[in-house]
Symmetry: C2
Subunit: 318 residues, 2 copies
């Protein structure tokens, strides 16, 4: 038996046929369309699934289940997508609608939860009982895995580490609050930190890399410059690592998982980021003579979305 995993993004929808070990056997993709009604969006996805099966020489009987990860809130119990701003979905019956096209067990969950699950099945946290995945992108997403299952809370609203407050009366956040963790630990955050200071440091290598236009600064430019020991970039990077280290220590002090997995755009900085973070977070752990969570880089990259979505059926037995 195989499973289908669908990774629904704001611009594209990736899907794949996945085996029990988490290998993608064949894949396909469609462009995300927001100009058609929900039922047609689902029809497009389902037809793409059917074509993918045909091309891979799979029969419908080979498919055990279909799972989807959405950039929003999915209700794992009802199969409803509660909220998905990018797709324009608000309380849509994802499972019910999809089943009209493919009558299989259908699962849906948040994309960070799905990536967390993928890493815990086929990635860097495989074999652990407890792990927390943190995605460092435009925002900060997270997923909690306990005993092979996603813990997204009693009401499906958990795992939103990015909107836990890390600084009282801190930076304003798009969610309406102040001081949310993602204002300090996302790619957006490190870019803001650099922009705040670049005016006083025109000599910085960051300025050269962005051709004198601070609007062109991105996380890679800053981290590459820090790697080359540019003083401003090093200062910004150090501050970012301090914030991320404290965020990771919070997860250790509250949840104490076996492993904390870093994914998303900023994690592409690789060992340069990982080494700095590993040195930093242990400073803020309360019980320093107890063992604590390992911090690792995600291993599956963008494939985590397809693999984790396919695995949702194991994470939601019965």
């Amino acid at each position: 038996m195989v499973r289908i995993g669908i990774d629904i993004g704001g611009t594209g929808i990736q899907m794949g046929v996945v085996d029990d070990a988490g290998h993608i056997l064949t894949r396909s993709a469609v462009t995300t369309r927001t100009d058609i009604p929900f039922s047609e969006q689902i029809a497009v996805m389902a037809n793409c699934c059917k074509d993918m099966l045909k091309e891979g020489n799979y029969s419908l009987l080979d498919v055990a289940s279909i799972g989807a990860g959405v950039p929003g809130v999915g209700d794992a119990k009802t199969g409803e997508v509660v909220l998905c701003t990018n797709l324009g979905w608000h309380h849509v019956p994802f499972r019910e609608e999809f089943r009209k096209h493919l009558d299989k067990p259908i699962f849906v969950d948040n994309d960070a939860n799905v990536a967390a699950l993928a890493e815990s099945v086929a990635g860097v946290s495989a074999g652990t009982f407890s792990s927390v995945f943190i995605t460092l992108g435009t925002g900060v997403g997270s997923g909690i895995i306990l005993g092979g299952r996603i813990w997204s809370g009693a009401h499906g609203a958990g795992g939103e580490l990015g909107h836990a407050i890390l600084e009282l009366d801190g930076e304003p956040c798009s969610c309406g609050n102040h001081g949310c963790l993602e204002r300090y630990c996302s790619a957006t955050a490190i870019i803001r930190m650099a922009r705040e200071q670049i005016g006083r440091h025109p000599e910085s290598a960051i300025m050269q890399a962005c051709q004198g236009d601070p609007a062109k600064i991105n996380a890679k430019i800053i981290i590459d410059a820090a790697r080359d020991a540019d003083p401003l970039a090093v200062k910004v990077f150090r501050r970012y690592v301090t914030c991320l280290g404290q965020a990771i220590a919070n997860v250790c002090n509250i949840l104490d998982p076996e492993v904390i997995v870093l994914g998303g755009g900023v994690s592409k900085a690789g060992a340069f980021l990982l080494d700095a973070v590993r040195e930093e977070y242990v400073k803020y752990i309360l019980f320093k003579d107890l063992e604590h969570a390992r911090v690792e880089l995600a291993r599956l990259g963008p494939d985590a979305g397809i693999i984790g979505a396919a695995m949702l059926s194991s994470a939601n037995p019965g």
Copy 2:
């Protein structure tokens, strides 16, 4: 069958015989002694247990298990107390030593975890799958209950919400870090907030209640004055509630339990605190149109220590 629960505190050790519903059938107590070696401390406790059983007309055959809550870190798996500063314990074999006196299944865990368990079995969170207990005392302790079991992490270091960072570069904490949550949400915190401002407000009712000596200010004085609409007390109380509201919302955004239970000294303020907190924390919840955790006051008071300790055997099956 009955179970024995032991609540080990810095000054006294309370114990009781508890039935399966969490009722204390008979109780006893000894003074905490730190002037004798560990093995003698355990002998004193065990003898007190034996006397209590005799007085209650219980035979040793009636006792299913013995559990203890300690103000420190207990390793639920090995029965070792990893750290308990008040008692002077560092990596002591609690279970092994206790069994020399009473050969029963012996369990040990942190006191906030134990209180969390008690409330989830016989208190305000009874019948829920997930709950987080937060004790607002000199510091801030917490315990996480998932599926009837204590989740204290992969290494027994979790549930320490009090030392999650709530303010980057914030107030110095006794743990060595800055900005720990307990610096903003404990009884100590509200006292500090009042003391910082009392010099500029000699007219405040707080000053009268503490007879002009700021060293005598306690949480009750501040909260009573806030209840009576003293302007300084109201300002301090509002700030405290804002901090606590954000701390509670962090628990909702990360863990999203069914219920969050407030215990400890500050919670004695009752409905006056609860109403204010309930109004505040919902402001910081990310998904405002999803259901979220109820916030409740602990119901078992100081008995939670005995009841929860007795219940440790159910929370650690096999």
